[in-house]
């Protein structure tokens, strides 16, 4: 399509990005939230590549029904265990922490987080945890999956399991400290005149996420403490033969981990709200409901954990969890309708950021639907622990969280680096990722319903056809990641200068230079009272004043010709 529009103007009038940070600045201890944010993002992206490599090995093994890449089932176990642990604890959670770190203070017009030192400390727990996690593969790798169920994780795993548990423990502490910092920052450091109801929805999402982290992650910490004691101190909390109870772990783990799936997706939903409204030039549809649904998800999320235990739970206790699981789909549905309402009739610009957000929208709906299917006990009993579950969780975690992360990268890269990412490469990246993703994971629904269990290296020959499709697509998906890497490398040097506000967005992070100076703002930024007031004449004036302040890229003068029903403010197309 010829008219895919790249935002405003190509002729920069602003000089090259101002504060010149050197690479070495990011390797040092720093208490600047912007540096810490980038540190989080780059570190977790490295782990994404590691986890992705493991995923490629898994799919390679599954090309054929027999063992070919690995020699034993144990080796396969360690592949998917470390893959899951890395992806969840070292990629998605820290990546969103990175976004939060970079953006929350900027969106609140603040200079930094409430506790800069604590912030840096929380980040620096991650590299040692990552080393422990990867080191665990060398000393009797963990084999119990990311859920670490005993007795697999206590009686049947090597020392690596202990290291992995320690690593997760450290990461938990890191994310609790980070969350405390976010909550205090959001409560106490909003600029004068910004009420909770004027915060960008990304900030709302981080707030809800942080509340979950503070209340849920300690469950995992407590459980892991017991697990580690079982492994090294001779206790038998989880040893059914010696007075222990394996279900205790399942309960404690899912007390944490169901809320944690929202830790992994709520910030992504925040990204989506911000990106969709900016790139379709329309106010958020139902702002308050979206903000409140984040809180609702945070609270209701604590009542559904046992839907992961339908097959191990006492039958009489199942029904309530089926009901709560259905209920939690409601606030999620509210968000989806809000996004649809937001882009409906908007002036959509198919930028890479927007494309990935739309990708999230389409894929996450599938994941949500399979989630509700799984929540139905009769169905669940059939597909529990099959590839259907694998498919569900990847549709929400990859189709959801990862797409949101990509979208966020394309959206905020200009702010972080001062340069635009290459849109053409971005679109290629999107198309390959989208197709690769879909054809990797969609067939898994069928594989699962046909009865192939998850976590096995050897399967019945009749599943081979679909598995081969999935594997080949997954290699496409894996390779597509490098388009982003290449794009970032190229654009860091040669990307178009972004200017302060390339997307003509109304939230505060754009009311400063790109990248922002060390103090974020020079003086105190004045916020626009409605962060999503696209279409208001005042919004045009506000955007104009930002351009005047920072030297906008040259572009045609403002011509406000409101289309019927939609008022369009930006003029960059």
């Amino acid at each position: 399509m010829a008219s895919i529009s790249v935002p405003v103007g190509g002729v920069p009038t602003q000089a090259a990005p101002r504060p010149r940070l050197r690479a070495s600045d990011f390797l040092r201890w720093s208490v600047d939230h912007k540096i810490i944010g980038v540190q989080y993002m780059v570190t977790s992206f490295v782990f994404f590549l590691v986890g992705g490599t493991l995923a490629m090995l898994i799919r390679w093994e599954l090309l054929t029904p027999n063992l070919d890449l690995v020699q034993t089932g144990s080796q396969y176990n360690s592949l998917f265990s470390v893959h899951g642990l890395v992806m969840i604890f070292l990629w998605i959670i820290p990546m969103f922490a990175g976004f939060g770190n970079y953006l929350v203070p900027l969106m609140l017009g603040a200079k930094d987080m409430a506790f800069p030192w604590l912030n840096a400390f929380a980040f620096w727990l991650i590299p040692p945890a990552g080393i422990l996690m990867l080191g665990s593969m060398l000393v009797g790798a963990p084999e119990a999956g990311w859920t670490q169920y005993p007795p697999l994780s206590t009686l049947f795993s090597g020392d690596g399991q202990t290291l992995a548990a320690l690593a997760v423990h450290l990461l938990g502490i890191s994310s609790i400290l980070g969350a405390i910092n976010f909550i205090v920052t959001i409560k106490n450091m909003r600029p004068a005149g910004m009420s909770y109801w004027q915060m960008p929805l990304f900030v709302w999402a981080i707030l809800a996420t942080s509340i979950i982290v503070v209340m849920a992650t300690p469950f995992l910490a407590g459980g892991l403490t017991l697990l580690i004691l079982d492994r090294i101190a001779g206790t038998t909390f989880f040893d059914a033969n010696r007075g222990g109870d394996v279900l205790l772990w399942q309960n404690v783990f899912w007390f944490y981990s169901h809320p944690a799936v929202y830790i992994m997706v709520l910030p992504g939903m925040g990204v989506l709200s911000d990106v969709l409204t900016t790139h379709s030039r329309k106010p958020i549809f139902g702002y308050k409901m979206v903000a409140l649904s984040s809180l609702a998800i945070a609270l209701v999320g604590f009542t559904v954990w046992a839907h992961h235990m339908f097959t191990s739970l006492q039958p009489a206790l199942r029904i309530p969890f089926m009901i709560t699981s259905m209920i939690i789909a409601v606030p999620t549905g509210i968000k989806i309708f809000s996004w649809l309402g937001t882009i409906w009739g908007g002036k959509i610009r198919f930028t890479s950021a927007m494309l990935f957000s739309l990708g999230f929208l389409s894929m996450f709906v599938i994941g949500g639907i399979t989630g509700v299917m799984l929540a139905m006990i009769p169905f669940n009993l059939h597909v529990h622990d099959t590839y259907f579950v694998v498919s569900h969780l990847h549709f929400v975690l990859f189709g959801g969280s990862v797409f949101a992360i990509y979208s966020g990268i394309y959206h905020w890269f200009p702010k972080i680096t001062g340069r635009m990412l290459n849109e053409r490469l971005g679109r290629w990246h999107f198309v390959l990722t989208y197709l690769g993703f879909f054809f990797t994971f969609f067939p898994m629904h069928f594989i699962g319903m046909l009865g192939m269990p998850r976590r096995v290296a050897v399967y019945l020959p009749e599943f081979q056809g679909l598995n081969t499709i999935a594997s080949i697509s997954s290699f496409v998906l894996g390779l597509s990641t490098f388009l982003l890497v290449i794009n970032v490398i190229i654009s860091l040097r040669n990307g178009r200068i972004a200017g302060a506000n390339p997307w003509r967005s109304l939230t505060l992070e754009w009311a400063t230079t790109s990248p922002p100076p060390a103090t974020n703002f020079i003086g105190d930024p004045v916020m626009f009272p409605d962060p999503y007031g696209y279409g208001m004449p005042e919004a045009a004036a506000y955007l104009e004043s930002i351009d005047r302040q920072f030297g906008a890229p040259a572009r045609p003068p403002v011509t406000d010709k409101p289309a019927p029903g939609v008022t369009v403010v930006e003029s960059g197309d």
């Binding site: 106490n188 004068a192 503070v214 109870d245 004045v526 626009f528 004449p537 004036a541």
Partner: protein, 164 residues
């Protein structure tokens, strides 16, 4: 999350701050209007400045820590600081619990009464020593929500039969 205040402790007694951060910045002379949009921006800024002082109303009373030397208890004035009175109450409750557990024979109500006594002690400490009585309500919520949640969770673990 009802509070929208930014600087809640500003007018706390003896606060060292003298600058009034929420006061509108001096805008004695209106800047000359250069463009059409400037008017819109000015009205915006004005609206923000108007909104800001409203934040004051929401402030909690500021800590009324007990620096006095007397306590009023059941209408009587006791010549001891509140903290000491609470301490004595804690001691008495502990002795009471010990007596229940070790001296008197156990009955069906022993355990609930002991639990109640212990809960009261905990509440006394949280209320008076940790100043929840005078500090922000948000702090109280911060404690209350997880406490309720873990009570429910523990209750669940107690219901589920072991070894299922």
């Amino acid at each position: 999350m009802a509070d929208t205040n930014q600087t809640p402790l500003e007018d706390r007694p003896g606060s060292p701050t003298t600058d009034q951060p929420l006061d509108p910045p001096e805008q004695t002379e209106a800047p000359p209007v250069v463009e059409g949009f400037a008017a819109a921006r000015e009205s915006l800024a004005a609206a923000i400045e108007e909104a800001a002082p409203a934040a004051h109303e929401d402030q909690h009373a500021g800590p009324t820590h007990y620096v006095g030397n007397t306590t009023v208890l059941f209408g009587r004035v006791i010549p001891l600081p509140v903290y000491t009175v609470v301490f004595i109450a804690l001691g008495i409750l502990t002795l009471f619990e010990l007596a229940l557990a070790e001296v008197f024979p156990r009955g069906g109500l022993t355990i609930p009464i002991m639990l109640l006594a212990s809960l009261t002690k905990a509440a006394l400490v949280v209320w008076f020593y940790m100043h929840l009585n005078s500090d922000s309500r948000v702090f109280a919520l911060t404690l209350l929500i997880p406490v309720v949640m873990v009570l429910l969770a523990t209750g669940f673990l107690m219901i589920v039969p072991i070894g299922y």
